[in-house]
């Protein structure tokens, strides 16, 4: 008896498990209606983490009092895969924020609602920044709207500059390297000190060295993408990147990115006097070390020649509506609020983001960060707006590549591998 009872017991338990799974497997299909709730995915580092989002929702509630809004903040790691699968599931979020380089994959795939007809209903949509508007379109149709722009500029510690006797801001890369050397001399006793803390994986700062010399990461010729790092211009840029990273930043920064350790923390702790900062980082630094509140200075990243800063990659976010949403009208209304002048002005003033159109730039009260960003953005560069770019981001391919260059890998050999991989990836999706 004992021998037959045990398997039977196991199968019974397993069968119960299966039944339970079967019950929860059927999604509740809610019919399209005017007060179907909205689920909104916003990205870390954006307005979703501040009280701006509460004000957006309050404005929205005046128009749609019965629509319940849930905002979920997502992390950037692996977001592309998560987004694609969430949109494809049909019961994912109603509204999604995307990085501008990740947008083409979604507009190509068809998971986003076509909002071409509503374009004019968005405030000042005819002057949207090209770098954000272009990826939002596919085949002449609009599937997303720009949400905010962002750029990286140099943030320095005025007190440390003064202590090192630096009275004039560096105007080109050579002067910047001199500044690094003087800072290292003055603060040499601080362990792991960097004059300019520059993580080797921070490719958003590495690529501009290539762009400044007219090099490209990838270029399209007659519909076919080719990697561009093997060109002499790009090779020179990569060598300059390594030289700068190695001369200004501590050796242990070669293999890391900005988040691990958090470069704002390194700056706040006095481990460096300069970083290449994103919009939210000044506030983050002050939160970690309030004494630095009056000591933050900003400027564009000096370039090879005096008077010409390194180009910046204008990045940013777009925001779109899931094609499977139950409440498209409410979703559009929500987008109109976040892309409207009132909220956009606050994003500039409170979050150091670039507005989606120059028309939204506040006339006064802009932070020093924004003033320097506007200056820096005069020399800007857009990344390829192509669905396959998202693959590189998931693999963290650029991060690892720029880190390997900083680590001393042969630039020609590494570029050859890079170019082959990039061509493979960019040509395989959506072409």
């Amino acid at each position: 008896m004992k021998t037959t009872l045990r398997p039977a017991l196991f199968t019974a338990i397993a069968a119960v498990g299966l039944l339970a799974a079967g019950c929860s497997g059927t999604p509740a299909q809610s019919a399209a209606s005017d007060d179907a709730p909205l689920t909104i995915w916003l990205m870390a580092g954006g307005p979703g983490e501040t009280d701006i989002i509460d004000d957006i929702n309050a404005t929205f509630a005046e128009e749609y009092p019965d629509v319940e809004v849930t905002v979920e903040v997502q992390q950037w790691d692996n977001i592309t895969t998560k987004l694609t699968t969430a949109l494809a599931s049909g019961n994912g979020p109603d509204i999604v924020e995307m990085g501008n380089t990740q947008t083409p994959l979604q507009t190509y795939s068809g998971g986003l609602l076509d909002i071409t007809a509503d374009r004019d209903s968005f405030e000042d949509s005819d002057t949207w920044l090209e770098g954000l508007a272009a990826p939002s379109e596919y085949d002449g149709k609009l599937y997303a709207v720009p949400m905010y722009g962002g750029t990286k500029i140099v943030m320095y510690n005025k007190a440390m500059f003064a202590e090192a006797g630096i009275t004039e801001l560096p105007q080109n890369l050579d002067e910047l390297k001199d500044v690094c050397a003087r800072l290292s001399q003055t603060f040499g006793s601080t362990p792991n000190f960097s004059g300019f803390y520059m993580p080797g994986q921070y490719w958003f700062s590495g690529a501009p060295f290539v762009f400044a010399l007219d090099g490209e990461l990838a270029a399209e010729d007659d519909g076919v993408w080719e990697g561009g790092l093997s060109t002499p211009e790009a090779q020179e840029g990569l060598a300059a990147w390594r030289d700068f990273q190695n001369s200004c930043s501590t050796p242990s920064s070669v293999g890391v990115n900005t988040n691990n350790p958090d470069q704002a923390q390194v700056f706040a702790d006095g481990g460096t006097a300069i970083i290449s900062a994103r919009g939210w980082e000044p506030a983050s630094v002050v939160e970690k070390n309030p004494e630095l509140a009056d000591q933050l200075g900003f400027m564009p990243m000096p370039g090879f020649e005096t008077g010409t800063p390194l180009p910046v990659i204008v990045s940013g976010s777009t925001i779109g509506i899931s094609a499977a949403t139950d409440n498209p009208e409410a979703a559009k209304a929500w987008l109109r609020i976040i892309t409207g002048k009132e909220i956009q002005t606050r994003l500039v003033l409170e979050q150091n983001q670039l507005p989606i159109t120059p028309a939204f730039m506040p006339e006064s009260g802009a932070t020093p960060f924004i003033e320097a960003s506007v200056e820096a953005s005069k020399y800007n560069k857009a990344l390829p707006a192509v669905p396959g770019w998202a693959t590189l981001e998931t693999e963290r391919y650029n991060e690892q590549f720029f880190s390997s260059i900083a680590a001393g890998d042969d630039t020609a050999a590494a570029a050859k591998t890079y170019d082959a991989h990039v061509a493979d990836v960019l040509n395989s999706t959506g072409n």
Binding site: P7, A8, S253
Partner: protein, 297 residues
Amino acid sequence: MRADRRLAYALIAPAVLILLAILAYPMARLILLSFQRFDSRSLFTGEAPLVGFDNYTRVLTDPQFWEVLARTAGVTIVTVLAVMVAGFGLAQLLRKAAGWARVTLLVGLVLIWAMPMVSSAIIWQWMFQPQYGVMNWILTRLVIFGDLSAHNWFGNTFEALTIIIVMVVWKGLPFVALTLYAGMTQIPEELYEAAALDGARAGAITRNITVPMLAPIIGVLTTLQVIWSVNSFTPFWVLTQGGPAGGTTTLSIYAYVKALSANDYGAGAAISILTVLILSTFAIVYVRRLSAQGEIS
């Protein structure tokens, strides 16, 4: 007799149904997918034309696939050898250690086993972090290896692979050690006593008694470890994402990147099917050989 049979089938039916639902159905879908052109757009339009063996030809003619396959084989051989040898050693230690030492060791092993893979991988990432990682600190303190205070372990393929393999072995060790230990406790003590009376040395006892007596368990464990190692994904993905420049990409990473990162789901499915084929061929050949030797009945 007939009624007994019917009862037996009735009893086994739920298990078969469950297996069909959770294994056969996804497997069938995967096979179908591997014959379709399925990209991110197919997710929304449902349009995924059948393309015959196109995905397989593309994968098999891609030099990267063979590179990845060779790397996977290498990693698997090293991992399985290391985990079996170390596991056997630990099991012997468990058998011979004093009570308190055995308990400490057992608790340690169970804790390693109980820890979720992602958490372990993240902790390993911290330990080997170039700037504040404890490993660089310890190794620098030891002086032997020189100044490693800024060393980036994941910057080159060899070191990155070594760390990943050590981690996979570390994580797989408890299962192997505990299973072998359990097997050892079943070996009749008389055999050892007889061997001792005949004056056999420790090495000879291990070779002539312990290993042969454990052979069926070792066989099954090896098969399981090979499958486990080939399918190992989390440590690779968390620590390197298959980089630098694809240097630590194994079959599971390759399939994932193709399917879920490049959105070429058809090719991803083909890679997975090829992996299943390779693993089942290995398992069948291996198990047959064992049973031919009469070690598994």
